[in-house]
């Protein structure tokens, strides 16, 4: 593969020294200059470069390599001399979308003809030059010579000279006989792989152009729906001020329901798209309940299209010896590209350049012309490879998004969709419903087959066209349900009917389009008939198969697998309760408009293992045979077969799009849409039929097509139970084995009965009345002073003060969202209203610069402002009162030596009666002892130091002690026994802790020092900045706090604790928990990667062991839910936020699952929904 950019089509058409095979360019005006009016198919230059042009693209299947083999073969040039130019609107011919595995079978033909023409032309030129018959000229490996005179080859330079030879593309040509093939039919290493392995390959995601900005889009709430009156008409308002704090924002672009942001940096575009407040109108919700796909499809309006009607099906059905009526249901599935779609667009006054991963460069060009109103010829679509798509993903959508954003800012913009957007909006592979009535006549004859297939497809119009209202939001009905609708067997009376339907959700073609579900039905049904007829399923197929090549493939594949003829299910159990079975299926993938074109034939023998107790199905081995006709690159064909086997096994066992009432599509990441993983790989044995003399057939999809039937037939052999609905999740299989319907009842929304702390305050009026009676003394002001000179204090005093400020985590509360330390402005939500923290920098006007030490000390100990006003105990002065005089002096010195920041305090907003500050005087009488702590003589100095730090400036109890109805910390047994902070649960620090392994001094020390304790978890929420602040504290103080806090707990001996931890890790590990529910699979796909313990290779993102985590064992779900929704980090790690990736139902189900699995001894949480709601509000 050359890394020199190939010359452009225009350059080649204008230069001399070329032979080019050309044809008129689609849509070019008559009489246009060659460079405007001609396409090139293959071009040879005098320098020996061979450029071949194909309008299709490489979707990661290696087609670039195979096409170059074809050209090199017919031209008799070396493989390395051929450079392929694929799918670029300015360079290549328009050959439509890259679909249906037809690139080799159909699209390569003009190139192949062109290569033959150029070779013939070379021979003619050489014969003329040497004045000899053409028969005497040889072309081999790019060298032209007279036979027998290999020593004196003719150079291409002299042969071509400066001539410009344009040959019109012939309609046909005599291709080289297969016997003479030197390249085609031989395995060739793919040209793209070395660059892909070394980071040198330029995917569309890697395109960078000068001045490029970064864009993100915000999609409407009707996720994955592209038809209906609300589409394009649901936007209510966009609050542009909501992203004012994000730097580098260049534009917010709004048009219809299209919303996007452009920023200078990608992380700012991403943050802006997440933070932008967009209000949408109510939309009616999904009209159809897709939880039951079969029923939804049966009720959906459809147009019947009779494809085949042979014999008299109605009469035959009435006279069957054995009638079988069966229904098969295929779920909606995803393409699931590993990379969310991405594009770069540059919209200028004179035209548009788009870099895209589209599989449809020419249709996309037309869409962009419609979107922009610019002429198509001014729009260049340059195609780069992207993540594999196996059909239509969001590649076209994001290209149009990029065009809208680039046009708005007048600069190139790169748009990267999020994982969530790709999952939600990719046009899904359609669900399908097949009903078959039919059965056996006398002697096991295939007497009747009445086949009805329902397929809700559409064209999945490019989203921006719909969202901006450029095209109507009415659904289109395509006729695509008919792929391989005809069975491979000779039924005496046969009727095939396709029901064409408008979409229910946005759908488009996915590998094996409609053929895969149709064959699931055909090949399951024939298996049942074989059983009814008492004949081996392979033998039965061979008796009735209509196609000789198919029959040969069936025989060869069965032989390769060592198929043992049998009748009925064998239900072979091993010693461990696992049932083993083997199944067969075969089909030819037929694609294109009815009646379609046949691609390769494929046959499967699948071996499965079924766990009778759990319902888990494993595909252990697949023998797959394929008849591809002539294979260009057998290594490439084998690679495609492997891919098809694994992907289709994944689809059959695991994959199903889930839906919700509020957002249509519910699955937004890989936990909710799990795909096959490495440990589940079946062994694969590929058998390629030797058919090099036959025309080449599409190989990209065929091996997927028999998968489902082969697997369910094998499950039948193993269990005696037939499954006619996919995927084969453990719960569906278990239900089937137990003879129950497979659908689990939806989990009912949980309602909380426990009242939150602040809702219990209703009965407080009486207490407050008492309060008012006793407490109206006015406190005098302490006069202001000039700001003290920091030079008053020694460096040692200020340093001590800095440590104490760290201990007290002053900055955590006294720093607002803008991050200016100590300048105040953080809103603290309390049961009594919102308290705004104040400016404690030494600014005389707005801060505490005018405060004398006595005023500062009074505030710290008594909660009284310099001016005499009472402070609220959100400022934990009852703790600070316990600090020593010397420490308060040092703290004062530190604060006074900080930079003064002028920023006025914002008023707090408290509810009545708490807005009456004088009431706090009575509160103080009741709850504030206001004295320094006396050391306990019987305890060590370290313990006393620890207590002083914890209870004094450390004010741990402010969060970790429960408060009484008046907001004062409780003492006695409730001391440090767990409280709340900013919507987070502050767990108990005493033996009241619910963690499975009691806190020890070592764990406490590790936690306070690093923010992480192996047997408890990680500091998060409001504790994370406290840990950060504690970094300023000397080790001895951290140790003292650990010693003191440990004395409040009863630690286990280390060996016992270690053993207990080991047991917990073992019983909570995935190995002990089959993923037999959506929530369990959510854990496996979303959580396990970081949280599963005992992994074979370490991960830098490793998170805490959930079985030991305080969050999972807490009294309330608040901390777990907050982490899930908001993510969070501290010094040592970072949990990504899943608030955008999971909906409320998923989070609730996941929380319940995690609680049950990782804290099995704890009661079920009851107020999860409320916690989710709070977490979402506080995130905003």
């Amino acid at each position: 593969m050359s890394f020199l950019a190939p010359p452009s089509r225009r350059e080649l058409l204008k230069r001399g020294g070329v032979i080019a095979v050309v044809s008129p360019r689609k849509g070019a005006p008559a009489g246009a200059a060659p460079e405007d009016g001609l396409d090139i198919h293959v071009c040879l230059t005098a320098e020996g470069r061979v450029l071949a042009f194909c309008g299709h693209v490489d979707l990661g299947t290696g087609i670039r390599t195979a096409l170059a083999q074809i050209v090199a073969e017919e031209l008799d040039f070396p493989f390395a001399a051929v450079e392929m130019v694929l799918g670029d609107t300015a360079q290549t011919p328009d050959q439509g979308a890259t679909i249906a595995s037809e690139t080799i079978q159909v699209t390569s033909i003009p190139m192949r003809i062109a290569a033959v023409q150029i070779r013939r032309q070379l021979v003619a030129l050489a014969a003329a030059a040497l004045d000899c018959p053409e028969e005497e000229i040889a072309v081999a490996d790019g060298v032209v010579s007279r036979r027998g005179e290999a020593a004196s080859p003719l150079g291409l330079g002299p042969l071509l000279g400066n001539r410009r030879i344009m040959l019109p593309l012939a309609e046909s040509a005599a291709f080289k006989p297969v016997e003479q093939h030197g390249l085609v039919g031989k395995p060739v290493a793919r040209v793209d792989i070395p660059a892909k392995l070394t980071g040198r390959f330029t995917y569309v995601h890697d395109v960078r152009v000068p001045g490029m900005l970064h864009g993100r889009v915000v999609r409407p709430p009707y996720a994955g729906i592209d038809a209906g009156e609300f589409v394009g008409h649901s936007l209510a308002a966009v609050d542009r001020t909501s992203i004012a704090g994000i730097p580098g924002i260049r534009a917010v672009v709004v048009e219809g329901d299209f919303v996007g942001v452009v920023a200078e940096r990608e992380e700012h575009a991403a943050a802006a798209a997440e933070a932008l407040v967009v209000r949408w109108k109510e939309w009616p919700g999904l009209a159809t309940d897709l939880g039951d796909a079969g029923n939804a499809l049966r009720k959906h309006p459809a147009t019947a299209r009779k494809l085949v009607d042979e014999g008299d099906v109605e009469a035959a059905l009435e006279s069957l010896e054995k009638r079988l009526d069966r229904t098969y249901v295929w779920p909606y599935q995803m393409h699931g590209s590993i990379g969310p779609s991405c594009a770069v667009a540059d919209v200028r006054a004179d035209g548009v350049t788009v870099w895209t991963g589209s599989q449809n460069p020419f249709p996309l060009q037309a869409d962009l012309a419609l979107l922009t109103g610019m002429p198509a010829e001014s729009i260049e679509v340059i195609r780069h490879e992207a993540a594999g798509c196996y059909g239509r993903n969001c590649a076209d959508d994001v290209a149009a998004d990029a065009v809208l954003l680039s046009r708005a800012v007048g600069a190139p913009v790169r748009v990267q969709l999020t994982r969530e957007q790709e999952h939600l909006w990719e046009p899904k592979g359609a669900a399908q419903l097949v009903d078959i009535a039919g059965g056996l006549g006398p002697g096991g004859a295939l007497a009747a087959y009445d086949f009805h297939t329902r397929y809700p497809s559409n064209a999945a119009p490019t989203l921006a066209l719909l969202l901006t209202g450029r095209i109507p939001n009415r659904p289109a009905t395509l006729k695509m349900g008919d792929r391989t609708a005809i069975p491979s067997y000779r039924y005496e009376n046969m009727r095939i009917t396709a029901y064409d339907m408008p979409p229910i959700i946005r759908a488009s073609w996915l590998r094996g389009v409609s053929a895969m579900p149709n064959v699931f039905a055909h090949e399951s049904y024939i298996d049942e008939l074989a059983h009814e007829a008492g004949v081996d399923p392979v033998e039965f197929r061979l008796r009735h198969i209509t196609d000789e090549r198919a029959a040969e493939l069936v025989k060869a594949t069965a032989a390769r697998a060592g198929w043992a003829p049998h009748v009925g299910p064998r239900m072979q159990a091993d010693g461990e309760g696992i049932l083993h079975g083997r199944g067969f299926a075969q089909a030819r993938y037929v694609h294109g408009n009815w009646p379609g074109v046949g691609a390769a034939w494929a046959a499967w023998v699948a071996d499965v293992a079924v766990n009778r107790a759990t319902g888990e199905v494993t595909v252990s081995r697949v023998v797959v045979g394929q008849d591809t006709g002539m294979m260009v690159n057998p290594a490439g064909v084998q690679h495609q077969i492997h891919g098809n086997v694994l992907q289709s096994t994944s689809r059959v066992l695991r994959e199903e799009v889930t839906f919700s009432e509020t957002a249509a599509v519910a699955a937004r990441e890989w936990g909710a849409y799990p795909v096959l993983t490495f440990p589940e790989l079946p062994a694969i044995d590929v058998m390629l039929m030797e058919r090099q003399h036959e025309p080449p057939l599409g190989a990209g999809e065929s091996a997927s097509v028999p998968s489902a039937a082969a697997i369910v037939n094998a499950v039948y052999d193993a269990t005696g139970v037939r499954f006619r609905e996919l995927p084969l999740t453990p719960e569906r299989v278990l239900a089937g084995l137990n003879g129950r319907p497979a659908l689990a009842p939806p989990s009912a929304p949980r309602r909380s009965s426990r009242l939150a702390f602040w809702s219990r305050l209703g009965g407080m009026a009486a207490a407050v009345a008492t309060f008012v009676a006793v407490s109206l003394p006015l406190t005098p002001e302490i006069g202001p002073i000039a700001r003290p000179d920091p030079a008053t204090w020694s460096a040692a005093t200020i340093e001590k003060g800095r440590q104490l400020a760290a201990l007290g985590a002053c900055a955590v509360c006294h720093t607002g969202k803008d991050g200016v330390p100590y300048a105040g402005g953080l809103a603290l939500e309390t049961p009594f209203g919102t308290i705004m923290t104040t400016n404690i920098t030494p600014d005389p006007e707005t801060g505490i610069g005018g405060w004398s030490y006595p005023a500062f000390e009074r505030a710290m100990r008594a909660g009284i402002h310099r001016d005499g006003r009472h402070l609220y105990p959100a400022f934990p002065y009852p703790s600070f009162a316990k600090a020593s005089e010397a420490d308060l002096q040092a703290l004062y010195a530190f604060l006074m030596s900080q930079p003064a920041v002028s920023r006025a305090n914002e008023p707090s907003r408290l509810v009545f009666p708490f807005n009456l500050r004088p009431l706090m005087a009575g509160w103080n009488l009741l709850f504030n002892r206001g004295r320094e702590l006396e050391p306990e003589a019987v305890r060590s100095a370290e313990w006393n130091r620890g207590r002083y730090l914890v209870d004094g400036l450390g004010h741990c109890g402010a969060c970790h002690s429960p408060r009484n109805a008046l907001g004062a910390e409780k003492g006695g047994r409730a001391y440090l026994a767990g409280g709340e902070a900013e919507g987070w649960e502050a767990p108990a620090l005493t033996s009241a802790s619910r963690t499975p392994i009691p806190w020890s001094e070592a764990e406490l020390y590790a936690y306070l020092r690093s923010g992480h304790a192996a047997r408890h978890g990680t500091a998060s929420g409001p504790m994370a900045p406290v840990i950060e602040a504690l970094k300023g504290l000397p080790d001895a103080d951290i140790r003292a706090m650990a010693v003191y806090l440990a004395s409040l707990n009863t630690a286990l001996p280390e060996r016992e604790a270690a053993a207990k931890a080991d047991v917990i890790l073992e019983v909570t590990a995935s190995a002990a928990h089959l993923a037999a529910s959506p929530a369990a699979r959510l854990y496996e796909g979303a959580c396990a990667v970081c949280h599963e313990t005992g992994r074979i290779v370490p991960l830098a993102n490793q998170g805490p062991a959930l079985g030991l985590s305080s969050k999972l064992h807490a009294a309330t779900p608040a901390n777990l839910v907050n982490m899930l929704v908001q993510g969070g980090g501290h010094g040592a790690g970072q949990m990504p936020a899943f608030g955008q990736a999971l909906d409320d139902r998923q989070i609730a189900d996941l929380a319940a699952y995690l609680r049950g699995r990782f804290a099995p001894g704890q009661p079920e949480w009851r107020d999860v929904e409320k916690a989710i709601e709070r977490a979402r509000i506080s995130q905003r």
Binding site: G60, G199, E267, K817, V1089, I1096, L1099, A1100, A1132, F1138
Partner: protein, 166 residues
């Protein structure tokens, strides 16, 4: 709270570099956008798929969920830092020889995870290789060739410094 941009000094593929970003910026964006490294890929932003994997002090890290503040003072290695097109690292060569890529979008994560794995376990069994790659997703179904590639790299003799022992 949005923290202001700060200067971060990073060591990437053996070279020192400085970037000015906010501390919570995913390392992936810094590597791709500030340092123009294309090996690590954006796949999910949630740490689920592994396409963004890099090595941090020799340990596999999901760069999409790894804030740049954590990368300070650590040795970062990306796919580009293993070897080049002209002189691929033995594990890259093994993947090339096994033709272990279709679209290749996930392959960065496979190579980087396998590198960290083989450094820790130079002679794995095939089932250990599969286990090591359990949380790396591939959609094309290249799993067979990927496992072959890792086994091939191990069979050729694995040394932590990356040199083949043959």
């Amino acid at each position: 709270m949005r923290s202001a941009g700060r200067i971060f000094e990073l060591r990437v593929n053996g070279a020192d570099c400085r970037v000015e970003v906010e501390p919570e910026t995913p390392l992936l964006f810094v590597l791709r956008n500030d340092l123009s490294l294309n090996g690590p890929k954006f796949g999910c932003g949630l740490g689920e798929c592994g396409a963004c994997t890099v090595l941090v002090d020799g340990v596999a890290a999901r760069a999409c969920a790894y804030p740049v503040r954590l990368a300070r003072g650590r040795e970062i290695v990306t796919l580009e830092g293993l070897g080049t097109l002209e002189a691929p690292h033995p594990i890259q060569q093994a993947f090339i020889d096994a033709q272990a890529a279709q679209c290749g979008y996930c392959i960065n994560g496979m190579v980087m995870t396998a590198k960290a794995f083989l450094d820790a376990k130079p002679r794995p069994s095939e089932s250990e290789v599969r286990e090591a790659l359990r949380y790396n997703l591939c959609r094309c179904g290249t799993h067979v060739e990927i496992v072959q590639a890792v086994m091939l790299a191990a069979e050729r003799g694995w040394r932590r410094d990356g040199a083949a022992t043959e």
